[in-house]
């Protein structure tokens, strides 16, 4: 398939969104929106598959596919152009592939909903923005996609716009993201001022060259990653901007799966991976990314322990897993970060969608305390979710096991040995602790919902109660299994991915990352400045110890005893595999004991530590803290400004506003409607001009 076809990838979903918009107009057309949307996502997936082999062998000019020239002011050139490299292709597979499966599921899930067409319009529009984001050739276009997905996220969270909590959640997501996006925008400005271009390939090439040849970091080099990072933290819900993601679960469940688990929230990870060499220019940037990621992983993992809302558990788990990804890219393992992004997309989408099935079956019930032993009522959902839980818990040889281990082992490699930094050592330890928590809370949920005595309370939500699945038995009173098509079939595909994607795609992913711009740069000439050298060695030099990367071989002659290093790293990888397998099994076993076999004991323990539970249940009171320290003072400040505006600015503006009117009134008499007057005016004007010129010329 010719590579040019890839230019169509974003535009087909846009067309789909437009058609869904048309479908909004008449109730009878609404039903068409679902299939249109699925097709508009599936066709780009086929294109992606078709051009994949061609995309691997592109030269530099072919990598940039220009659709049209968008903005050209002086030397500032921004084109509607796509940058095609293996990383782009990986992201496209995730976005369109997982996107098609989720949209298919949503056809059944959203059936009969009043806003059916509006929902699918949002989904298609989201895919347009997301594909634009991952394909963008320059930062400005990436920012367009970035804001586009933000907008779609806002629209889809606020899908139930008649419910106040959904509206509030949508606003929260949008506003919190603004803070991050401000940083991102400033980062783009600074990038342009520094590099005089916003083209991703050019910027990364320049940065890579700088890292490899040695350089003196300028102030801009230090600042750019931190500004860009802010955007990534906002979009990917990392501390301190994580508060919006759990609330975003107010949207329909397929949205949570697509936008807030599988694709959009990983955009931050993608962005850092894409700009890896730029982040390497600052000695502090990647350690900061890793720290924020590691801390967020642990922090969100603990919160997930004590949540009772099914979707909230998965939401905090998403925050936590995103933390892993940041830890991965921060530890210079873009492979680990992106690989985890890839596998996470499978199992987290699966978990959200099965949670959606449970919620659907129980008429909107999400409280873990109100359900138990559903395995007989929903056997398929039960085992599908089991597959997802295994992957999330990092059970040996499932998808999550491979990707998570890579990240933890890489962090450990960075944290031990000759140039080891204590920071990364402790981050790896935190990662392991998180892995235990993950296994525990994941299976806590699964055992609670599906095992134990059968017991359930139906929710009060009637949105699934009309003709939700075509087969109308009185399911509003009794939970029941979802139909195979269109709901469980896509989930089965996801489940296969969740179990085996790690095994199958590991090698594929390695080559893809190595051939993309995300491959970290390796310093060939070590900076000898004694102040910065140690820091750079952590971020650049010790990369030579990378086991999975060919970098270790190709740069073996760069000194530092690489064979030894590679050997050490290999040992750590093997060790970590054993340790984390053990941790996962331990977590699952404990969860089984406390939440299946001996629930009363769990309740007693929880009562004993009610203070801790309370703090975790209330998410460390971060929302309250923000309310107290940021929202309330800002609101008070706003009131102050309002008064100032009302009495001072307004008065001034009114005065200034009258000025043009006064001038207008004064010249109005010249427009008398009398032709003599006009003629006189013209001749007088001519006479004045003549006088002026005479005065000047003679």
């Amino acid at each position: 398939m010719p590579i040019e076809l890839i230019k169509l990838v974003p535009w087909i979903p846009l067309l789909g969104a437009a058609l869904c918009g048309v479908c909004c107009m008449k109730p009878v057309w609404r039903k068409a929106a679902g299939p249109i949307s699925v097709l508009s996502i599936f066709i780009p997936f086929l294109i992606t598959c078709g051009v994949y082999s061609a995309a691997k062998h592109l030269n530099d000019t072919q990598q940039v596919q220009t659709v049209y020239s968008w903005i050209g002011v002086g030397e500032f050139q921004v084109n509607m152009a796509y940058f095609i490299d293996p990383l782009t292709m990986v992201m496209l597979f995730v976005v369109t592939g997982i996107g098609s499966l989720i949209a298919t599921y949503a056809m059944g899930y959203m059936k009969g909903d009043r806003g059916y067409a509006r929902f699918f319009m949002g989904v298609s529009l989201f895919i347009f923005a997301m594909t634009t984001l991952v394909m963008a050739d320059n930062l400005v276009l990436l920012y367009l996609g970035w804001e586009g997905v933000g907008l779609c996220s806002y629209l889809l969270i606020g899908y139930y716009y008649d419910k106040p909590f959904a509206v509030a959640a949508a606003k929260k997501a949008f506003i919190v993201n603004r803070i991050g996006d401000l940083g991102f925008a400033l980062g783009i400005f600074l990038t342009y001022m520094t590099y005089h271009t916003v083209s991703l390939s050019v910027v990364t090439d320049m940065a890579r060259h700088a890292v490899e040849q040695g350089f003196d970091p300028t102030t801009a080099d230090l600042w750019i990653p931190f500004l860009l990072m802010l955007g990534a933290f906002g979009k990917s819900a990392q501390i301190p901007l994580h508060v919006w993601l759990p609330d975003a679960m107010a949207g329909p469940t397929p949205v949570s799966a697509l936008v807030h688990a599988a694709t959009m929230v990983t955009a931050g990870v993608y962005m850092i991976a894409r700009l890896m060499p730029v982040f390497q220019l600052s000695p502090y940037a990647l350690p900061t990314v890793a720290t924020v990621g590691g801390v967020t992983a642990l922090f969100a993992g603990t919160i997930a322990l004590c949540q009772y809302d099914l979707k909230k558990v998965f939401a905090y788990s998403t925050v936590s897993q995103l933390g892993y990804m940041f830890l991965g890219v921060g530890a210079l393992s873009t492979f680990g970060g992106i690989f985890h992004l890839f596998t996470h997309a499978f199992f987290k989408a699966l978990l959200f969608l099965t949670a959606g099935s449970v919620m659907h079956a129980l008429a909107g019930q999400l409280d873990l305390r109100a359900m138990s032993g559903l395995r007989h009522k929903m056997p398929v959902t039960c085992w599908l979710m089991f597959a997802g839980c295994l992957a999330l818990a990092g059970f040996p040889f499932t998808a999550g096991f491979f990707s998570k281990d890579t990240i933890l082992a890489e962090a450990m490699v960075r944290g031990t040995g000759e140039h080891g930094s204590t920071l990364f050592f402790w981050l790896a330890i935190m990662g392991l602790a998180t892995a235990f928590l993950t296994a525990f809370y994941t299976f806590r949920l699964w055992f609670r919902v599906f095992m134990g005595p059968e017991h359930f309370e139906m929710g009060d939500d009637d949105h699934g109660a009309d003709d939700a699945h075509g087969d109308d038995h009185g399911h509003a009173h009794e939970p029941h299994e979802m139909p195979w098509w269109p709901m469980n079939a896509p989930l089965a595909v996801l489940a296969v991915g969740a179990l085996f994607a790690g095994l199958i795609f590991s090698g594929w992913m390695t080559t893809n990352i190595e051939e993309s711009t995300a491959q970290p740069a390796v310093a060939l000439n070590i900076q000898t400045d004694p102040q910065t050298a140690p820091a750079y060695e952590i971020i650049a030099v010790s990369d030579q110890a990378d086991t999975h990367a060919a970098a270790a071989d190709s740069h073996a002659d760069a000194g530092h005893g690489d064979d030894h290093e590679a050997h050490r790293a290999h040992g750590i990888h093997v060790l970590l595999k054993w340790v984390s397998s053990f941790i996962a099994l331990l977590g699952i076993a404990l969860a089984g004991y406390f939440h299946w076999l001996n629930r009363p004991l769990t309740d007693q323990i929880a009562k004993r530590f009610s203070g801790v539970v309370e703090v975790l249940y209330n998410k460390y009171y971060v929302d309250e803290l923000y309310d107290l320290t940021i929202v309330k003072p800002l609101r008070r400040l706003g009131h102050g400004f309002y008064l100032f505006d009302q009495f001072v600015i307004n008065g001034l503006v009114m005065t200034v506003g009258y000025l043009p009117r006064l001038v207008g009134w004064s010249v109005r008499p010249t427009q008398s409607g009398q032709i003599q007057g006009y003629g006189l005016g013209m001749v007088m004007g001519m006479a004045l001009v003549a006088l002026l010129v005479f005065k000047w010329a003679f």
Binding site: Y68, G74, V667, Y678, M682, M684, A690, V693, W696
Partner: protein
């Protein structure tokens, strides 16, 4: 002129010749007894415009403009043919409306075929031919004739456009004041001839350079006064101070589609003529001319905008807005062509910015007038803010078009007016006219007040029951095309920017002309 030269000259004039033939055909067929042939006149006019546009595109690079501005003619001709098509769509029903507008009763059993008059389309085409000829002018006499060919048909169009005494009144005003202005710039032309002894632009430029060199860099007084008077006279065409008085009255009196015509066609001719006249002495302009244009620009913008604030008639508001936009255009003329040709985009090239802005302004203003033209109140044209009040509730489509067009005129991104203003301001700032830029920006802010007043009336006012749609499909389509182009060119306007930029770039190699016109073709049509 030698025979070969004449042949070469005519070869470059095929679009104009086709336009003349089309106009003549409209005149004759419009006189026929059968309704069928008479009804075909608008189609003939449309076909003529399309053919002319194709000829401009297909024409090889015959340099028929003043040396440095060889691409100008192609760009302007294509722009005029393209926008002429939109104007034709908007104006297509004008002759039919004569009786229709007399009273609502007569409108019911009205058959356009009864009185459809072909001469309207003939005048329409003749005026557009005038603009094309203006763009290709290389001689003072030619320029004068072309400018008058642009204006004379419009006098008739104004007079016959409506069956109301206001139309006749405004036509008379327009005619007398137009004649006065023609006298003024003709006087200017003669003085230029007197100073240099030639009417040919290339010759004048050469002699002027010699004289300037002989006077240690000072432009001789006679030439200076000639150019100054020409500028003042041509200011009538673009409705700039001190020749702006007529605009509001004439625009208000004419039928709305004809007003749209007046707001674009003579203004384009005037702006192009000013470029040609100014390029006789070249940039940087002599001090006197620069001060003159500076004052004209500042006054025109300000007078147009402050008077626009006070109006109750939307048509008059748009008339004053058109005056204000002329002020913006003069700012671009002051900035002049790019000093450094290497810089990309139109930034820094004032003339390219003017050419781009003409199209940008034309689309916005034509769309807004066309929307007005789609409405009727008690058998008469919609004019006041009351008439468009609550338009959104009755005619959401028209209201949306009105919104797009006024926002483009304000200069909001992503509409084409924004790009136009960016290029104008950028080039003026680059050329050092900082204060003028400040005045321009302040004026933009003032203009937002009345443009947004139009938008708010459409969207937030109480619907007016007396307002109905005229139901003329071509006019709707014209409004739609203009507004859609204002949006599309705002998003993907690079083609037009490059076209305008190439139009003002001196031609080094003959083959550079070809791609220019092709880009222009894709972006305008």
């Amino acid at each position: 002129m030698h025979k070969a030269e004449i042949i070469q000259k005519v070869a470059g004039l095929w679009p104009e010749i086709v336009m003349l033939i089309g106009a003549t055909a409209c005149l004759f067929i419009g006189l026929s007894k059968g309704k069928g042939p008479r009804r075909s006149t608008p189609w003939i006019a449309a076909a003529t415009l399309v053919l002319a546009a194709l000829l401009v595109c297909g024409k090889s690079s015959v340099s028929d403009g003043a040396g440095a501005l060889a691409g100008l003619a192609g760009y302007v001709k294509l722009a005029v043919a393209g926008i002429g098509l939109i104007l034709l769509m908007v104006a297509a029903g004008v002759p039919d409306q004569l009786r229709q507008t007399r009273d609502a009763e007569a409108a019911k059993d009205f058959d356009p075929g009864d009185l459809l008059t072909g001469e309207f389309y003939a005048f329409f085409l003749l005026s557009l031919t005038g603009v094309m000829l203006t763009a290709g002018a290389g001689d003072l006499v030619w320029l004068f004739l072309a400018l008058e060919l642009t204006s004379l048909p419009t006098y008739v169009m104004v007079a016959t456009s409506r069956d109301r005494v206001q139309a006749q009144e405004s036509a008379v005003k327009y005619f007398f004041l137009g004649a006065l202005s023609a006298a003024i710039f003709l006087y200017g032309f003669t003085l230029i001839y007197g100073a240099t002894g030639s009417t040919e632009f290339a010759e004048i430029t050469r002699i002027a350079q010699e004289q300037i060199a002989a006077h240690d860099g000072h432009v001789p007084g006679l030439l200076l006064i000639g150019i100054a008077l020409s500028i003042v006279g041509i200011c009538f065409k673009i409705a700039a101070v001190p020749m702006h008085f007529y605009a509001a009255d004439v625009y208000e009196g004419a039928a709305t589609p004809v007003t749209a015509f007046l707001a674009f066609v003579p203004k384009t001719a005037g702006a192009v003529a000013l470029i040609l006249i100014l390029s006789l002495v070249g940039w940087p302009l002599p001090g006197a001319i620069e001060s003159l244009l500076w004052i004209i620009a500042a006054l025109t913008m300000t007078v147009g905008n402050v008077l626009g604030l006070l109006q109750t008639s939307v048509k008059r508001v748009l008339a004053y807005s058109s005056i204000a936009h002329s002020g913006y255009i003069v700012v671009g003329l002051l900035a002049g062509p790019a000093v450094n040709q290497a810089a990309g985009g139109a930034l820094g090239d004032g003339l390219a910015a003017v050419l781009f802005y003409l199209v940008a302004y034309g689309l916005g203003t034509i769309a807004s007038f066309a929307v007005l033209g789609c409405l009727r109140v008690n058998g008469d044209e919609a004019q006041t803010f009351d008439d468009i009040s609550g338009l959104h509730k009755r005619h959401p489509f028209l209201a949306a078009l009105m919104l797009v067009s006024v926002l483009s005129l304000v200069g909001l991104p992503p509409l084409v007016g924004f790009l136009g203003k960016v290029y104008l301001i950028g080039s003026a700032y680059g050329a050092g006219f900082t204060y003028l830029v400040i005045i321009l920006v302040l004026n933009s802010a003032i203009s937002a007040a009345y443009y947004l007043r139009i938008a708010s009336a459409c969207y937030f006012g109480e619907p007016n029951d007396a307002v109905e749609s005229t139901g003329q499909f071509p006019r709707y389509a014209g409004a739609l095309v203009a507004a859609a182009l204002a949006l599309i060119l705002g998003v993907v306007g690079n083609g037009l920017v490059n076209a305008s930029r190439n139009a003002t770039t001196p031609v080094q190699a003959a083959d550079t002309n070809q791609p220019v016109q092709q880009t222009a073709a894709t972006s305008i049509d």
